[in-house]
């Protein structure tokens, strides 16, 4: 993950100070479950401590109550999530990046048809985030 964060910095994305508390994380997790979606993976929350919502060109990584509403993980999932086993973590103009709780892996799915395009194992979050962000 450190390599990925370093790459983001090299591409002009300044590290953000954590803008959420532990309480915010718990509230978001509760809200997601209430909406019928799985918990956010812990490693993803770890990433959000460095970049809580990241806007790239035609793409984004969602965050916990970030300043930009477009990147709010609750708002985005409320609009675009039609599955109960997955939670959307990011997007580009072609795909959604989701965490599949059943398979315990990260997937790129076609946003138009819902087809799985690529999968990353449970320890493949940096590769999955790298696949959705375009700098």
């Amino acid at each position: 993950m450190m390599n990925f964060i370093k790459t983001l910095q090299e591409n002009g994305y300044r590290l953000q100070k954590t803008s959420f508390s532990q309480k915010d994380v718990i509230e978001t997790q509760k809200e997601l479950v209430k909406m019928g979606y799985p918990f956010l993976p812990l490693e993803f929350i770890g990433f959000l401590k460095n970049y809580n919502g990241l806007k790239g060109e035609d793409c984004g990584i969602l965050g916990i109550s970030p300043a930009d509403r477009v990147l709010d993980i609750l708002v985005f999932n409320e609009i675009h999530n039609g599955s109960k086993d997955m939670v959307i973590l990011g997007y580009d103009d072609f795909c959604f990046l989701v965490y599949d709780e059943v398979q315990k892996d990260y997937l790129l799915v076609d946003r138009q048809t819902g087809d799985e395009l690529e999968s990353f194992s449970a320890d493949g979050l940096p590769e999955a985030l790298n696949a959705i962000i375009h700098y």
Binding site: K55, I79, L107, R111, Q112, L117
Partner: protein
């Protein structure tokens, strides 16, 4: 007035109460105005935030589809939906259900972004073909000639060579193969996934690079934005200024688009347009000659561009009245939108058309995500294939959208209906995905026969893979159920 206690008075009171309820609901949820009001709902829609406009659209869409439950409501919703969408320049697209194979979709995606992601070791062995991995790790003793590498007849490469960006890098791939003395017959055996790995191997600057750029000059999306801003920059700036945005942001953004084709406000350096005491002091501190400049004079564009290029743009940073730098992320950002669904590119004469300038549009990010793509859904894996409802522009020449009103949309025809040289070339490389994959399977089987291996059977391999995935999923479902019990 009806007498107190009469049935007319009671009815009047009920109507009044209902009105109060509606008004308070609208005050709380402004998008409900579009649903409750039978007149003026287009103006109500224009007054909504983008997020609420998306909500109103989604509810109307559901109501309009629900003919069986309440026909009157459905008809009314359909009328409102049509009025609102056509006033905003959209219509709901129809789909014929011609699905594109995921490999083709991924190639379109690579062409659009101009990058390919590296496969990490472990995944590489799983995703790449054994033919490719074997021949790559067993170089020939003698260096083959460049002419021996026949890309034109390589089945999987035919899928890539439909795109100019990939045809353009063929010589780099050949150079890599020659340098590493790779057996030329590898090309006939490689899968599309193998070719994307070969591009990564050929273009990587170091073995740790995660996202490898193969476009030599500029990616398709950035080229589109650069050309659009070069030709329509003034009109775009006027539209943004009309929305009341800070002119320093507007001109900095248009300048970034025009020079680099970039459009993400998070990476934007907003500069002053005129010299301020702070700017002159900062320039002096950085030992940049500014004795000929005075406070209030316009900053020459050459100076702005040269400082940005040398990463010293901050010396000209625009500031608010408290002296804080204006941050790009506090202003609107943009996305490049595919006007015609990429998933539907199978209906086009060539899939390469999917990324043509004529099919792209620069849209404010919030409108792109919260409205245009409102109905895109991540679905349950294994569900039947279905298209989400998709909005398309009524005018196919729409190139820039910053709002729902007519004067917030810009139309421009890049080629005035003429076929471009690129299109003429692309039309020579049209192939069918299934035919290419069949040819690949035959090549691989012939190779196996020559090398006394068991004949490769794609169907058998696929079946084995599917049953493995199914068993894995069932096992996980079982664990989940046990945990929930």
């Amino acid at each position: 007035m009806a007498p107190k206690g009469s049935k007319y008075k009671r009815k009047h009171t009920v109507v009044q109460e209902e009105q109060i309820d509606v008004e308070s609901e609208i005050a709380e949820k402004p998008y409900m105005a579009v649903l409750y009001h039978d007149e003026g709902y287009v103006d109500d829609f224009y007054d909504l935030s983008v997020e609420d406009a998306g909500r109103a659209y989604e509810i109307l869409l559901k109501l309009a589809a629900d003919v069986s439950k309440n026909r009157t409501d459905a008809v009314r919703a359909k009328r409102k939906l049509n009025d609102i969408l056509s006033a905003s320049g959209f219509h709901v697209a129809r789909h014929d259900g011609n699905y594109l194979h995921k490999q083709e979709l991924m190639i379109i995606r690579m062409d659009f972004y101009g990058t390919i992601d590296r496969l990490k070791s472990g995944l590489r062995e799983r995703e790449l073909s054994s033919y490719y991995l074997y021949l790559l790790s067993h170089p020939l003793q003698k260096r083959p000639k460049v002419a021996e590498y026949d890309f034109q007849s390589a089945p999987s490469w035919k899928l890539f060579s439909r795109f100019h960006s990939f045809r353009h890098i063929e010589k780099n791939l050949k150079a890599y193969l020659v340098k590493h003395k790779i057996d030329p017959q590898i090309l006939q055996l490689m899968t599309p996934r193998d070719f994307s790995d070969l591009v990564v191997q050929s273009f990587q600057k170091n073995p740790y690079e995660q996202k490898v750029t193969f476009e030599k000059e500029i990616s398709v999306r950035n080229e589109f934005v650069r050309e659009l801003a070069s030709q329509q920059g003034e009109q775009m700036a006027d539209m943004l200024l009309k929305q009341g945005l800070d002119e320093r942001y507007v001109y900095s953004m248009i300048n970034m688009m025009r020079r680099y084709g970039k459009y993400n406000s998070a990476n934007l350096v907003i500069t002053e347009l005129h010299f301020t005491p702070k700017v002159l002091a900062d320039l002096k501190k950085a030992k940049i000659d500014c004795k000929n400049f005075k406070v209030g004079e316009p900053i020459p564009q050459v100076l702005i561009d040269s400082l940005i290029d040398s990463e010293q743009g901050d010396l000209l940073a625009a500031r608010d009245e408290k002296g804080h730098k204006l941050k790009g992320e506090d202003f609107p950002s943009f996305d490049v939108h595919h006007k015609y669904a990429v998933s539907d590119a199978g209906d086009l004469k060539s899939v390469a058309y999917a990324n043509y300038k004529e099919n792209l549009c620069l849209v404010r990010s919030d409108i792109h995500s919260l409205f245009i793509h409102r109905c895109d859904k991540a679905k349950q894996q294994g569900d039947a294939k279905s298209y989400s409802k998709r909005l398309e522009f009524i005018d196919p020449n729409t190139v820039f959208v910053i709002g729902f009103k007519e004067d917030e949309r810009l139309q421009y025809d890049f080629h005035k209906g003429k076929r471009t040289k690129r299109q003429v070339m692309d039309d020579k490389y049209i192939v069918n995905y299934e035919a290419c994959m069949k040819e690949l399977a035959l090549n691989q089987a012939a190779y196996d026969r020559r090398h006394n291996k068991r004949v490769f059977d794609a169907d058998r391999e696929l079946q084995r893979y599917k049953s493995h995935r199914k068993a894995n999923k069932q096992r996980k479902m079982l664990i989940k159920k046990e945990l929930l019990r």
